[in-house]
């Protein structure tokens, strides 16, 4: 980070300099104020308010009847059968999706970084494009492609003699279906991975080639360590994204979490408690539970990063 301007240009006396710096600082706060106000009003205050709500029986439909209920909402966490299902679904799906959301961007970036690829810019743009398709449109499209009868995926399978499953109506195949739909979400991750690969100094590869390292070894011992900060960044964002996974199962199941409870993700349960049953007290408790879970997971990731993330500059800001 560049140093702050300590002195104004030109020759000024000590007192003038002092008042000038004070003025600069004041201007700094003025320009910063939108964020400071927003941070207090839309982040700190709501976080604290939801902590307070979590100890109440706050119902949006009956504001007058609010009273403190102690740890009742927290006790309910232990007995809520849907919460157990929701945590199970969320973690199970995260365990399936995380390796893909870390690995596939690296593979795609490696392909698009190949020196033998013609027309790189076109490929880069077209592989990114699905990322800007609004999620509702994307779900409509995939819903059609995955349709068990008229969908193109099962048509393709049929043409090679395989009867495809009812992807979206089966509590088992719904997970592969969600993973397939998620493929269109790789855009950002692959693009920054590719950009990071392009910054690896070519001298490293030449030195390794002189030493007789194969392409695979060069990728493993040079490319991967050099892009590890980006892999780390993608991992953090993927973990956060998977913990708050909501829109796709919500739209696919019309807000019900069907088939069975297979799409009853944590956030869907939260949504139903808050905006179907309007039980804001317990919803706040659920929100805080998710907050703590997110903190724990990102904390573990940041702690682990010192063992596998390589910062070439030695600076991690």
């Amino acid at each position: 980070m560049t140093t702050d301007r300590a002195t104004a240009p030109g020759a000024v006396s000590g007192r003038q300099e002092h008042s000038l710096q004070r003025e600069q600082r004041l201007w700094g706060w003025i320009f910063l104020s939108p964020w400071v106000v927003g941070f207090l009003a839309f982040t700190i205050l709501p976080i604290l308010a939801s902590l307070v709500f979590s100890f109440t029986n706050f119902q949006l439909t009956d504001r007058e009847a609010v009273r403190f209920v102690g740890l009742q909402n927290y006790a309910r966490l232990l007995t809520d059968p849907t919460l157990k299902v929701a945590l199970g679904v969320t973690f199970k799906f995260a365990a399936m999706a995380l390796p893909l959301s870390i690995g596939l961007p690296v593979l795609l970036a490696a392909l698009l970084n190949s020196k033998y690829l013609l027309n790189k810019r076109l490929f880069r743009t077209l592989f990114y494009m699905p990322y800007v398709v609004p999620v509702v449109s994307a779900i409509f499209i995939w819903g059609g492609v995955l349709n068990s009868d008229s969908g193109w995926l099962n048509r393709l399978l049929r043409s090679i003699g395989v009867q495809g499953p009812a992807w979206l109506d089966s509590p088992v195949y719904i997970y592969p279906a969600l993973l397939i739909i998620g493929l269109w979400g790789l855009g950002n991750a692959y693009l920054i991975t590719l950009a990071s690969m392009q910054t690896v100094p070519t001298a490293f590869y030449e030195a390794a080639r002189v030493d007789g390292a194969s392409g695979l070894r060069r990728f493993w011992h040079i490319t991967l360590p050099m892009i590890s900060p980006v892999i780390f960044y993608n991992t953090v964002l993927s973990v956060i994204g998977l913990l708050r996974y909501f829109e796709i199962p919500f739209i696919l199941s019309n807000g019900l979490g069907t088939p069975g409870d297979s799409q009853m993700f944590f956030n869907l349960h939260f949504y139903r408690v808050a905006f179907v049953f309007f039980d804001m007290g317990y919803a706040s408790t659920l929100a805080w539970l998710m907050f703590v879970i997110t903190l724990v997971f990102t904390g573990i990731l940041f702690w682990s990063s010192r063992y596998w993330v390589y910062y070439a500059s030695g600076d991690r800001s």
Partner: protein, 367 residues
Amino acid sequence: MAATSRSAQVPRLGGSFANTSPHYLKQLRRTGSYALVTLFASMVLVAYLMPFAYMIVTSFKDRNQIVASARGPILPVDPATFEFEGRQLELLKVEIDGEMRHMAILTKGRQSSTFVDPEDPSAEPIVWQGAWRTLQPVYTFSPRWDNFAEVWTRIKFPRLLFNTAFIAVMGMIGTLLSCIMVAYAFARFPIPHKNTLFMILIATIILPRQVLLVPTYAFFDAIGWTGTWLPLIVPHFFANAFNVFLLRQYFLQLPRELDEAAMIDGAGPVKILTSVIIPQSWPVIIAVALFHIVFAWNDYFEPLIYTLGEPALQPLSVGIQQFNFVYSQQPHLIQATALLGMVIPVVLFFFGQRFFMRGVIVTGVDK
């Protein structure tokens, strides 16, 4: 490896193969590598984008064509017919005298059928031996453009489009104003504990949205803003981490000499921002504007809860989602809707893709 072993054969092949030199083979191998890698990437790309083809093709079909195409043709086509003595006859592909011809079927039979030749209808009908059901029909390409007209009016597309665009543009203005100001503060001013404040700003990225949602919703509800667009617009006037980060990175690498020159000329901080910083920053400002448009078009959850029960206020994402359930038996209309729902962000992306992708890279790689 292959090149060296083959080049060893060159002398035996004689003079006419003189250009089969090691250099030539290396060239050949490189060309092969280009072809192989590019072909492979193209195949992956086709698979990746295949759903768009499904959407486009399906959005031009009607219901009958979709039912038929569960096994039949992929394109929106109708069986071709030929008018003969006031009747519409199906056209089939028939092999007659060892030649494939398009013939209109006059009488259908299990053992034999009679056909009329469309090119010569006045001639005697031809008798063909065999089961007519084994014959392939002839199709004509007939896209249903009126699907779009139907969807356009049914989902009140102009209304939804206006709602989305209004929310998106207002939010974009808010996000640009506030993020430019905050990024300018972080890039140029001596604020105490600036680094700590910046880390706090970045840390807000990992906050789960739902931990803020209940109190924020309750607050907007208490002041009567639910059922209006205000909760979808006003918070964007208070800056967000991604865009501030992106703008700050850009401002930091602008030369300070220009600021200082303007300062000596008597320009205040606001003047420096508007006449020195912003004119140099169009690429990143365009990127932030595009990010916001794409975000607003995609945003689903908050519009859903804040416009609950107010269909007239809903943006595209929420409006077309409900349509999905009402017309779940009409995939052609759903795909036409999907196309209408994505066309604006995708077109904007193609126009501004350089700025857009540059912006994504800066937020991801520099962090």
